[in-house]
Symmetry: C2
Subunit: 414 residues, 2 copies
């Protein structure tokens, strides 16, 4: 007889505590809007308990469900695929206007929609994005404190650990999430405070340097990434406009800023596969001229990659460059999570598409035109892919050409 | 080795079909707002499939969860108990203004809040009722098609079948729900059409009689229930103002109308216990003068009953009187469901609180002032309790005092 492997409830409770006290730093009197898949209910329940204990006003969990999502694609008439629950998203915007915090629990089956008609999936995504935009602006503009944490889903666990039985795969993925989220440490909240201080020291040093470019060199990579005029480095905790310092991503290992959309030159090779809408794109190699990808190849999934690059003009240009040491816990675990939240924290990365407006000095005060003039890219997409490894060096290049070592063999050189 | 008892998925699918095709008669192009406890997910998933197949535009399931609800009472700071998710309820109102249909899946643990502070429970109910009021008006005013169906919950099943192991209790409750909802019949949709025709014949006869009062007599009961001026009897399917004929309750056995808020005299004894927010109120006995409850007792739960009566002025007056034969399938099953949706269909009943504005001739055209002038009651609450049995007789009393037998020994006398 074999006992079924179970996720440790004490660790679930610690992750919930980190989500509320580190991720959101929820303040007494705040409402909380929480989204999660039904498979994450064990974590949702503990988060709600910690959030009410922290003095939450009203918590509204909006639960999604894979079977319900699939029922739409499998049974819906044609008209449904261009519709969204506008009233719900308008309501969320209203909640954020009233200083509600926002927590997303990530943990869907990454292959959920892989058997569905891609045209219908694209139509639903477009309708949902349009309806969600007013609420999302309050999040991406950091008007409020927000965060994302993760919880295992059976299909996700089997994708990451295909050789384990399902129950063991779920427990293995849970352990990997707990370790990456620092809740396996004796005092997770203290560990996060120390980690945030380290990330703040690194981004502070970079902001003091005011490099014009970063020069990445490694196997298959010789890439000069110009940085946007007036760029600002961020990492770890962020001060939202409502005065609350939150950790928008649990986990996070990166310090990141905005590259210049017109000043990227050279070639770069991905160091990890990119999982995009159910397709695994392996061995991406691209060449930039004047900030624009002019040549792109991949060993698998090249067709999907080309489609991504053709979505709009900004999809061929960079919106983010991020530095992550090769010794980061997620990188050290060797686990490929097939989930950007984790995988982008395993290595230095760049992102195609939309830039973050707050990665500029006084970014909150800049108009979209000013952001563009300073080199900020805009696009419907933001897709991160990994270009760091233990063999990559990075130099900071000042406006006068002076070089400073930033990374050597994948680790911070300062 | 014992196989765990399971709910029959084919019957779940039939109940989902009845919910969509009989309960809502959902039309292509309608949005649907659906509320359900997480324990009802197997039914929710099939309802969503049938509703999208019927041409639903966007379905928004809002799932509640017992552990989440309890976490608030167990951890919340004092201020939370007077708050509600106003933005969500405003959004629902907006959805109904745009002709969304409404489906509630009932199946919470009836004792969920029994261990919580009744004062906090009352405060949350008050805040939620106030926030929900604008949306609820669209439902109770029949602006849109709406319905309620039920699904077993483990704790509910153990309350109804305390002597069975949990898995068997759940299956037994599911079978009782399927039978009461007529989905155990060969063609459930046809069975509902026949049943609706029978209820329409009974309410048609009562509307032709135009009684001034109903006189209930039985053990511990001698109650004269004045009927509102211009009252109208309803039963079974209802034509909503959006032109769709829906069955708001699955199951339903009652024909019902609006009593006169000022013209109820005498005493009445409940014939079944009333389960209210986790408290079982047994052997209710009340006395009316001028439509108002002036004396109220109960063998258990009297304190809760008194609190209910003190919620507002309308809580002491009647908003509904309903006739159900003692031989109705739910009564015949002998099962006490501890759930008004079922138990109110086992016996004649009256309701404290809010009346239904559509239970008036041309009710849709009446202002709140006119409804009040005709004797319609208003309140934040609407709580049904059972006063019928095989020993209760009912006379219809005309304006001139003429009496007509309506019920004899619990059965229709016509
Ligand atoms: Zn990043
Ligand atoms: Zn990114
Ligand atoms: Zn009733
Ligand atoms: Zn009622």
């Amino acid at each position: 007889m074999s006992e079924k492997a179970m996720i440790d409830p004490a660790m679930v409770d610690r992750l919930a505590e980190v989500a509320v006290k580190v991720g959101l730093r929820l303040e007494a009197g705040q409402d909380l809007v929480l989204t999660a898949p039904t498979t994450a209910l064990p974590l949702v329940r503990r988060i709600v308990a910690h959030a009410y204990a922290a003095g939450a006003n009203v918590i509204t969990p909006i639960l999604s469900d894979e079977a319900i999502t699939l029922a739409r694609f499998e049974n819906g008439h044609d008209a449904t695929f261009d519709k969204a629950a506008d009233w719900l998203y308008r309501g969320m915007r209203e909640a954020f206007d009233n200083n509600a915090a926002r927590l997303a629990i990530s943990g869907d089956n990454p292959m959920m929609l892989s058997a569905q008609d891609p045209a219908k999936v694209a139509r639903v995504n477009r309708a949902t994005s349009a309806a969600y935009k007013p609420a999302l602006e309050k999040i991406s503009g950091f008007d409020i404190n927000w965060s994302i944490v993760s919880y295992p889903n059976p299909a996700w666990a089997k994708l990451v650990f295909p050789d384990l039985p399902e129950d063991e795969a779920i427990v293995a993925l849970a352990k990997a999430i707990f370790a990456a989220s620092r809740v396996d440490q004796p005092d997770p909240v203290a560990a996060w405070n120390a980690h945030n201080a380290n990330l703040a020291q690194k981004s502070g040093w970079l902001n003091g340097q005011r490099f014009a470019s970063l020069h990445f060199t490694g196997p298959g990579t010789d890439l000069m990434v110009g940085l946007a005029d007036g760029h600002e480095w961020h990492g770890g905790a962020s001060l939202a406009k409502n005065g609350i310092t939150c950790n928008p991503n649990i986990p996070t290992e990166e310090v990141f800023t905005t590259p210049h959309a017109l000043r990227v030159e050279g070639y770069v090779s991905a160091t990890k596969p990119l999982s995009h809408n159910g397709t695994l794109i392996r061995d991406i190699r691209v060449r930039f001229e004047g900030g624009r990808i002019v040549e792109a190849h991949a060993a698998t999934g090249e067709e999907v990659l080309q489609k991504v690059l053709d979505i709009d003009e900004g999809a061929r240009r960079l919106g983010e460059v991020a530095l992550v040491p090769h010794s980061s816990p997620i990188s050290a675990s060797g686990v490929l999570f097939y989930n950007t939240l984790f995988d982008e924290n395993a290595a230095c990365h760049i992102a195609l598409g939309q830039c973050y407006s707050d990665c500029f000095v006084d970014g909150a005060k800049l108009t979209p035109e000013q952001i563009k003039a300073q080199g900020g890219n805009s696009s419907l997409i933001h897709i991160d892919w990994m270009i760091g490894s233990g063999e990559v060096d990075i130099d900071g290049v000042a406006a006068d050409g002076t070089r400073t070592a930033v990374f050597r063999r994948g680790e911070w050189a300062l």
